[in-house]
């Protein structure tokens, strides 16, 4: 379970997250929507410990992520992260991209790591690209590679930061399909997304962020059918 309590985040004088309270249960798929600059992505970075926080608490599997004695490298292994820019490692082949972290972070043997990598590449449908370098892959394939790379660490949670925003329109589908597959398999996911159809069809709950505040959270039918907040209504009217 991920618990977020009264989370405040500042970038200098800029108050980016203004007291977020949120719980994500095991097996839940949460979509986070809202306009750019509303703090959605920053929330993910805070959960992962890639950004520091100024106030509040984030607890993942009973571990306080931002406590001094916490080993972030261990916490991060439990949380796979997929970025907007897919960030494949260009100097490694697809299978090496996926096998590297299990090998050097978890200490798996070369053969074991490769086996894990191959099964995850199959998982995301890239088994025919095992020995390809990222520059020979399309954006969609590279994003699926990034998903496989995160899955290879056997995370309890997957955090998606606008995973399809930088993709060509015709490549968005394959990545969403992969995310959908993970959701069906019962992965706990937090997806910051601009894909409203994905948020509506796949997630258990949808949260709407506006100006650093979580204005509304509820089931997709609630948020999309009967939004309570004025900001939510305006946002949805624009993206529809």
């Amino acid at each position: 379970m991920i618990q977020i309590r009264d989370l405040h985040k500042y970038f200098g004088p800029l108050h980016v997250l203004k007291g977020i309270n949120l719980e994500v249960k095991k097996g839940e798929v949460l979509s986070v929507i809202g306009s750019s600059g509303s703090g959605k992505s920053t929330l993910l970075y805070c959960i992962n410990g890639l950004e520091t926080i100024q106030k509040g608490d984030i607890i993942v599997n009973d571990i306080h992520v931002h406590a001094k004695q916490t080993n972030l490298n261990q916490v991060r292994q439990k949380m796979g992260m997929v970025f907007q820019q897919w960030n494949s490692f260009p100097h490694l082949t697809a299978v090496e991209n996926v096998a590297l972290a299990p090998k050097i972070v978890k200490g798996k043997s070369k053969a074991e790591a490769r086996k894990i990598a191959l099964s995850q590449l199959e998982h995301v449908g890239l088994l025919d690209k095992v020995d390809a370098y990222p520059n020979a892959l399309s954006g969609g394939q590279q994003q699926r590679l990034a998903i496989a790379r995160a899955l290879a660490m056997e995370p309890d949670y997957m955090l998606f930061d606008e995973a399809t925003s930088a993709l060509d329109p015709e490549l968005v589908g394959e990545v969403l399909d992969t995310m959908r597959l993970l959701a069906e398999e019962g992965m706990t996911m937090i997806c910051v997304t601009h894909e409203m159809s994905f948020a509506r069809d796949v997630s258990d709950r949808v949260a709407f962020f506006h100006d650093g505040v979580m204005e509304e959270i509820g089931s997709p039918s609630q948020i999309f059918g009967a939004p309570q907040s004025e900001h939510t209504r305006k946002f949805l009217a624009k993206v529809r």
């Binding site: 796979g80 992260m81 100097h91």
Partner: protein
């Protein structure tokens, strides 16, 4: 009109000596490069990540090495230090001057290489649970190495050619040896022509080796 008589015999007779000197040239250039790479890497990292006196030290090094004639740097380590009672052997003068110069140039190559790697590479590596050290050595450095590979090759060439300044401080590398024989036999043109060919071949070999190595190293 053109009545110069070429005499190649003295050159051929002393060719083994010239080739020995060429090996010395190569040795000092390669050593200076290795030292330059290590120091250059440190200077680049200091300039990227540190503040205060270390930063100013590194920056001054880079500025002096790049913005003053290499010859003056050589004279500094030769006659400059000599004025303070520190007398280095000709070999050491050339080695330190070349290392100093190369480190300055390479530092900027490395710095550019590091800046060319998007910060997101580091982020995604860390998000997989890698330590900062692992992310640096496994993800960042290999990519930087590819970026600086060809500039490094360039620097090796420059280093080999610049070592010829060594003859001005009495170092008997290829140019110094050539000068020595040329003034003893007065076959100045022949000696320096032959030496130019030797330099050309050395550099050509370095470039070919570098290209072959690059093809093996960089598959992407």
């Amino acid at each position: 009109m053109f009545d110069y008589n070429f005499h190649w015999r003295p050159v051929l007779k002393t060719l083994p000596d010239l080739l020995d000197a060429a090996l010395l040239t190569l040795e000092v250039a390669i050593l200076a490069m290795l030292i330059g790479i290590v120091i250059g890497l440190c200077l680049a990292l200091i300039r990227l990540h540190m503040k205060g006196s270390l930063y100013w030290f590194a920056t001054s090094w880079v500025e002096l090495a790049r913005n003053t004639p290499a010859l003056f740097q050589l004279f500094f380590f030769g006659f400059g230090l000599g004025a303070f009672g520190l007398h280095l052997s000709p070999y050491l003068i050339v080695l330190t001057a070349l290392s100093f110069n190369c480190a300055g140039y390479l530092a900027e190559n490395f710095r550019g290489g590091f800046l060319a790697i998007p910060e997101t590479q580091m982020r995604s590596a860390r998000s997989l649970g890698m330590t900062a050290w692992q992310a640096y050595t496994r993800i960042v450095i290999p990519q930087v190495f590819r970026i600086v590979y060809h500039p490094i090759t360039n620097q090796i060439v420059w280093c080999v050619l610049m070592s010829s300044l060594g003859m001005l401080v009495g170092f008997r590398e290829l140019s110094g040896e050539t000068q020595f024989f040329a003034s003893r036999t007065f076959r100045i043109f022949e000696y320096f022509a032959a030496t130019a060919v030797i330099y050309y071949v050395i550099v050509k070999l370095i470039l070919v080796a570098s290209r072959i190595l690059a093809a093996r190293l960089f598959r992407y």
